[in-house]
């Protein structure tokens, strides 16, 4: 293999692939990055058996071939090269990859390319197309709500649901739930559900990253899913198990509807949350009354915090307590200057919605407090 390519493109591809190189590889070969030169392309692959990533960059190929080298060193070396033009030259007999740029010459020892678990395309299963901006929005608005503990594995991922011309993403840790829905062009024959690991969805944000919207082809089998763009291909294992019926967690009627300014309510909750943070449930209290919400938090060791924010209250006055982080998380993904908080009583789940938008809902269970 003998090629030349642009440093900036190689750095970017290695950076994305590098995140899928196993931190604690089960076998040494998984610490490697696989590179293959063919036609006008350099292909770069990395996998940790959960995620697999394939990226392509333009290259001038003098001799095709393949090589596996340490992902960590390849990344670090290429990042620091002095010139924008980079040459890679692999000598199969000595098993050495030469990396040159300007006056810099590196050699990296290679691993056996035959041992690398190459990523193969999903050949069967359902396929649909979705715009990258739509996919990113589905992920951004929900995945933060996934569970971080492993007691219920299905909750460590987000549900992707296809139904008719709708695509939905749902995430919950059983105390709060986020749902975002979008419309796709092709109508689906049958409803189907897939549970995607949270880490994979976060990685997806980098891969379908670019500022230019593009089309993503999603393919799904029972146990695997892939995402394909012009330059990148990512495959992932799905989480096994049945996702509970999330619709049952979404109340249909509410007694009180409060319209609040997003930015000032978020900063007030963040400040009051400072005092709550070292308490058991990170609890803040909201009292809705007389056209304002009074936000407070008491911590017997530290002190007390209080804020008042103007609110438009339709319905009964109410006192309710929440985990401050659960409110802060959703307020960071809400679109628009105002949002709506829908409440029943101090023990029943509340909902966060956006004005004139039925595509997003967030359900939050209150904290029971003494007194």
């Amino acid at each position: 293999m003998k090629i030349s390519c642009l440093k900036s493109e190689l750095v970017q591809a290695l950076q994305i692939a590098g995140r899928s190189v196993a931190n604690k590889p089960q076998t040494p070969i998984l610490s490697g990055i696989y590179m293959r030169a063919e036609k006008d392309m350099l292909e770069i692959q990395a996998t940790d058996y959960e995620i697999g990533v394939v990226l392509h960059i333009t290259a001038e190929i003098d001799a095709p071939g393949e090589v596996v080298v340490s992902g960590r060193y390849m990344q670090e070396v290429v990042r620091t090269l002095p010139e924008e033009n980079v040459q890679l030259d692999y000598d199969k007999s000595t098993k050495i990859l030469k990396i040159s740029s300007g006056n810099s010459n590196f050699t990296l020892l290679s691993m056996n390319a035959e041992d690398f678990p190459k990523i193969s395309r999903l050949q069967e299963g359902k396929t649909f197309k979705v715009r990258s901006v739509v996919l990113k929005e589905l992920v951004r608005r929900t995945t933060f709500a996934c569970a971080t503990d492993e007691t219920r594995p299905v909750f460590t991922g987000a549900l992707l649901e296809l139904e008719g011309d709708k695509v939905r993403m749902v995430a919950t840790n059983s105390h709060r739930l986020a749902l975002h829905e979008e419309t796709i062009e092709e109508e689906q024959q049958e409803k189907c559900q897939y549970i995607i690991p949270k880490r994979v969805l976060e990685e997806l944000q980098h891969i379908v990253g670019g500022e230019i919207p593009e089309e993503v082809t999603v393919s799904c089998t029972r146990s695997e899913m892939s995402f394909e763009t012009e330059r990148a291909y990512m495959t992932t294992r799905l989480i096994e198990g049945k996702y509970p019926d999330y619709r049952r967690a979404i109340p249909t009627d509410f007694a009180t509807r409060v319209t609040l300014p997003t930015a000032s309510f978020l900063s007030a909750v963040s400040r009051v949350g400072l005092i709550a943070r070292s308490s058991e449930y990170n609890t803040i209290k909201l009292v809705f009354n007389m056209g304002e919400v009074h936000i407070s938090s008491d911590n017997p060791i530290v002190g007390r915090a209080e804020e008042t924010v103007k609110a438009t209250i339709d319905g009964d006055d109410i006192d309710i307590s929440f985990n401050a982080s659960y409110l802060i998380d959703v307020l960071k993904v809400v679109n628009g200057d105002q949002f709506i908080l829908m409440l029943n009583d101090s023990l029943k789940p509340a909902a966060v919605r956006e004005p004139n938008n039925e595509d997003f809902v967030y359900i939050i269970t209150p904290v029971r407090t003494k007194h």
Copy 2:
């Protein structure tokens, strides 16, 4: 105590003082920040018994007084306040400090101000004045060379030496040594030496920080030292023990004198050092020959790196190996486009100097290599 002051000034003072609040306080009171309001000033104190810091900010005083509250919470709360105007109101009977700004109201529980080990001024000892820029340069150019391990406590600090109209700072870990000298206005009667903990010198960089140069008054006793500016006062314990005679570590004659471009040599050494990093001594080899230096590093597990940089060599050709970090560290503090490397043979200490500047010298011991 009842005062109002500017959030930005209070935040900055709390941030500086916060770094001197003990992380693992020996007694609970050391987790606190002491505040005292008097005349038009709010005084803020923090100490961990090694460093003590006293800062002053302008305040409007309605009632004088003093209070101690958790340093961590005070910092976090003030930083997030919504308005630039901040009110502090301490009620001695309830022992509660009220912090208000705009619609935000916090209360923090206080600790007993009488228990706080208040920082007293050094009353005796030698005193000299130095400009803040000079002091910062002394620290910047040397302290990186201090030892990080504790086997020889005197090497965990830097030596401050006064002799005639000279002030010198010296730091070493016994494998490399940095010396920087400046001239002060007042001539000293007798030579004296103080060993200042590295951490204190790093902190000093923040305290004499501002962009406007100012005068710093340094006072020294046998065991303590203080630094005073218009707004800040810092006191520190000195390291006990005798600093070895650093002059004996500085060779007077060299066989070879090499002039090198600072920036390109630094980046070449950084790149080659990547491969050296996981080896035992982080070793890179320099070969000076025919108007250039060839920099290389070999790592039997990873690979090899090579670079060439043009050099002006006066004297004998030479091969020599160094710990890459020891070269990188000094090249980051060297002033000017070019620097001078002075060499004897591959086993003797080398020196880094600046052209036409006798005030700075860095000594570096080579790594012995096989072959």
